[in-house]
Amino acid sequence: MLLAVVETRKIFGGTTHLERVFFYLLALVVLVVFFAGLGLRVKKYMAGRPLDASRFRRARVPLEKPGVSAPVPLTQTGVDIAANRTVSRRNHAVGGAHLLLFWGFLGLLAATIIVGLDYDVYGNLTRIFGGKELSFFKGWFYLGYNAIFDTAGLAAIVGAVWLAVRRIRDTKSSVALDYTRAQKPRSGYSRAAMTAGDHLFIFGLILILFTGILLQGLRIDAAGFPSFERWTWLGYLVGSGFGALGLHGSAAGTAHFWLWWVHILMALAFVAYLPFSKALHMISAPANLAVRDPGNTRRLPSPPSGHAGYQDFADFTSKELLGFDACTKCGRCHSVCPARTGGAPLSPRDLILDLRQYADRKRGIPMVLDWEERPDQSGPKNLEGRLAGEVIEPATLWSCTTCMACVEICPVGIEHVPTIVSLRRSLVDAGEMDPTLQAALENIATQGNSFGKSSRMRARWTKGLDIPIPDARKEEVEYLWFLGDFASFDERLQEISRTLARVLTANGISFGILYEDERNAGNDVRRAGEEGLFEMLVEKNMEAFSKASFKKIFTTDPHSFNTLRNEYPAYGLDKPVMHYSELLASLISEGRVSLAGLDKKVTYHDPCYLGRYNRIFDAPRSVITSAGCELVEMPRNRTNSFCCGAGGGRIWMDDSVLAERPSANRIREAAELDVGYFVVACPKDYAMFSDAVKSTGNEDRMKVVDIVELFAEASGELALAGAASEEAPES
């Protein structure tokens, strides 16, 4: 019989009617399982607190900065997801492999859907209504389809194999892939199941992809290599391989038959497995990226009504619950976390995984090979215990410096910090905290500063000045200078405050201070979890602001800067807030000051609250380079800067449990560079790193200086000589 050549293939691999029935029944069950799993999850998210609707309000609040505090536009999120931008940050190799797998997989998904549309929908519709089953899966469509989706298949395989090889090879060498917990449960634990789950996921995927390609080869081989199948180039190639091995004709057909079932059963199993495993991130990760809110960490959310902090499952927001499900255990947060690096019992990854398991157990959602085993009912298995305190250990919560490195790098847009603070709030509410933190909070509550000094002594630092510092409450100034506690009270830093005062005065900047009315701005108080005290401080400071007349605010302290800039607007602050580094940089860029070349080799440390939080990277650098210094960057700089360990109230807590203080870790990094100066733009940094330079034995090699000291020296205001800085005579 002569048949016209029709470029198509048989879609269903089975032969008998029974097989067909079996397949459809199985597919039905799989779909039920899949949607039931998804439904369980969606219901879980719905059980959380609803998302803050303001996330979707696109109206721009005056002081918001896109990408910092303003929501990410959905189009940008779309591009981020499509280009796997968050995955390839700081790791282009993995990003590239993932991108191949991502698009390859999407391509194959599209291919499957098209076939389904043709065979099950179009075919059935035409059979029922037209009496004859038709198909568009033929001719040029068929050829193009094969050419394109074969390429997708190859991309997916290459990406998947790459990732699998890395997962096996790098598990020992990469901190990120090592699943050892940072906080060790007393009873012991095992994460073998999680590791097995990871392998099942990636190797299962590879097997499905691989069998798919093999099937093509067998089919083409069995069909005797019709020339149009050259379009199915990968299958043709594989088929030729089979041919070369001597597999032909009906033998190839039989092999095809069995392999088809293997392939189909695996693929169906995968669909059923998806909502209960790591594979879920294919759905939850993009969803979570779409609802991420960069403002959330910079401007912490208020506690749930009725609870001071998170106490039970229902306190989590839908966004948080979705985020827990999105975590892929990639370990990027784990490897950048200064607490984890220093040996503290906190890993942001473990925290998210613990909370995910807790949430799933609470909701009775099963997971396939994605659970940690423990011999007892501790940690995430403790469904009756206190969420903050038992499910998550207090020491874990207190270890966080709120440096935001985890939020910054998380490829799936999880926001760890607001969750940690919300849990801390419960600890504070129960009065459970380090005695030194308690003392600091009590001092702040009574005298408005953490130093336990009288509030009336706040402007004492001005005593050593021969220039008057205007009182912004009494005279009108352009800038209100908000110093913060350290710049006001710490003896070492008072000299730097005086230098800044001299520099600004010499350059004709109109500024004033609040004298004894300034209170701790509350950034770290809030992040320590003491929301009530934070609100009290805001009230006091807002009252002080209302007594003063000024146009803009600038701060010395990046922590104060963050809360004034991002959080105070909600309480009525409507003035622009700057950091002194920006002010100094503007003096230079406006040509108001000429700096002499200093000829120093320096490195610069980005403070978390200035850099990552508020994206101010260039202003301090421009001061440094304009002063003629050679700036050598540390390997971890800008958004990847490594925390000094002081943030989030950590500066008030005992850090002797750490194997290595983050500040010491950072100084060792700088010491590799062979620079004489470690430049900072934050009073807390000055305190932390001066100490770390000593404790790491680098006193003779490196000196910690503030950018204003460099500025002053370069402008002839001050000579930056030995340890005791000599003041130049006033001009």
Binding site: G452, E491, R492, M653, D654, D655, S656, S695
Partner: protein, 319 residues
């Protein structure tokens, strides 16, 4: 029973008579002679070791049920009974547990004047003038105690004591005290265990900083502390190095201490350290660097090398 007599309450509760009793006896003699009266010393409970209280003109040994070991309730009634006999112009005790237990209540019962935290006491005409140390030593109050009966509790160490340890007592009287109603009974007296470290409760602290150089040199400081009967504390680097346990750390992230004397050896005086010890009554600093900030808060300082200085001190008292 003259109305210008001065009474000193001996505050021995365990061991020997404490220094403060002799300080008070010295002051009592001075005041008594200015007023033209005599000095009485009350020894309650156990007469043991009373021979060294010879500086008083009259020694009263009170014994009775519940009076030994120390029992605040029983002592109050015993002393009260004696005072109604003696009718003194002035009663002296220290601002310690016994003095606080007794004087407030006795003064209230008899409607007498009371001044505490006294560091100086004198007679002007017919009135008694006292100087008290208030507000944690930030202010001194000079006050007039009038010309009637008065109680004074003094801060130990305020008056010189050496001269008044006089042996041999001529004029001792024994009294038996029968308590009417005892609502407090003795259970136990516990001497300190030397195991737990509590640098906050030490009167004298020898504190070492990074200047101590190494773990092995800690022994030298330890020896000095033992000889002085002092506690041993340290700055953070010493703790970080593991040379001493965390419980010894003074400062921002350690303990806040308020000893009478803080002897700082090889400590530079970083703000975080000063935060923890600034309130010591007397700070003596040893640091080879004359510009070290510790000298800004210390009362006395020396730029001697600590490794030269410590052996010298050990020679002076250890030998």
């Amino acid at each position: 029973m003259a109305e210008n007599d001065v009474v000193v309450i001996a505050e021995r509760v365990v061991g020997g008579h404490p220094d403060v009793t002799f300080e008070l006896l010295g002051k009592a003699k001075e005041i008594a002679s200015a007023l033209g009266g005599e000095v009485h010393c009350l020894v309650v409970g156990s007469p043991e070791g009373h021979e060294c209280l010879g500086a008083s003109d009259h020694l009263h040994l009170v014994e009775g049920e519940h009076l030994w070991p120390y029992n605040p309730h029983a002592w109050e009634s015993a002393v009260s009974a004696l005072l109604t006999q003696i009718k003194p112009r002035l009663v002296l005790a220290s601002t310690g547990t016994v003095g606080i237990d007794l004087c407030g209540a006795l003064a209230a019962q008899s409607g007498s004047m009371l001044a505490s935290y006294v560091v100086d006491l004198s007679v002007e005409g017919s009135t008694l003038m006292a100087v008290a140390q208030l507000y944690g030593g930030k202010l001194m109050a000079e006050c007039d105690l009038g010309d009637g009966p008065a109680f004074v509790t003094a801060i130990p160490g305020s008056f010189a004591s050496q001269a008044t340890r006089v042996d041999g007592v001529a004029n001792a009287t024994s009294h038996a005290h029968e308590a009417a109603e005892v609502r407090m009974r003795h259970v136990a007296l516990t001497e300190p265990e030397k195991t737990g470290v509590d640098i906050t409760s030490e009167e004298l602290l020898v504190s070492v900083g990074r200047g101590i150089g190494s773990q092995s040199n800690i022994d030298l400081a330890q020896e000095l502390a033992e000889v002085l009967g002092a506690g041993l504390s340290a700055s953070r680097p010493v703790i970080d190095q593991g040379w001493l346990p965390k419980a010894h750390q003074v400062g921002k992230s350690g303990k806040k201490v308020k000893p009478k004397i803080y002897l700082a050896l090889g400590i530079s005086g970083a703000p975080e350290h000063l935060e923890g010890m600034r309130q010591a009554e007397l700070i003596i600093a040893c640091n080879t660097d004359a510009t070290a900030p510790i000298f800004e808060v210390a009362h006395y300082g020396t730029t001697a090398d600590l490794f030269d200085l410590v052996p010298e001190i050990l020679d002076l008292i250890g030998g």
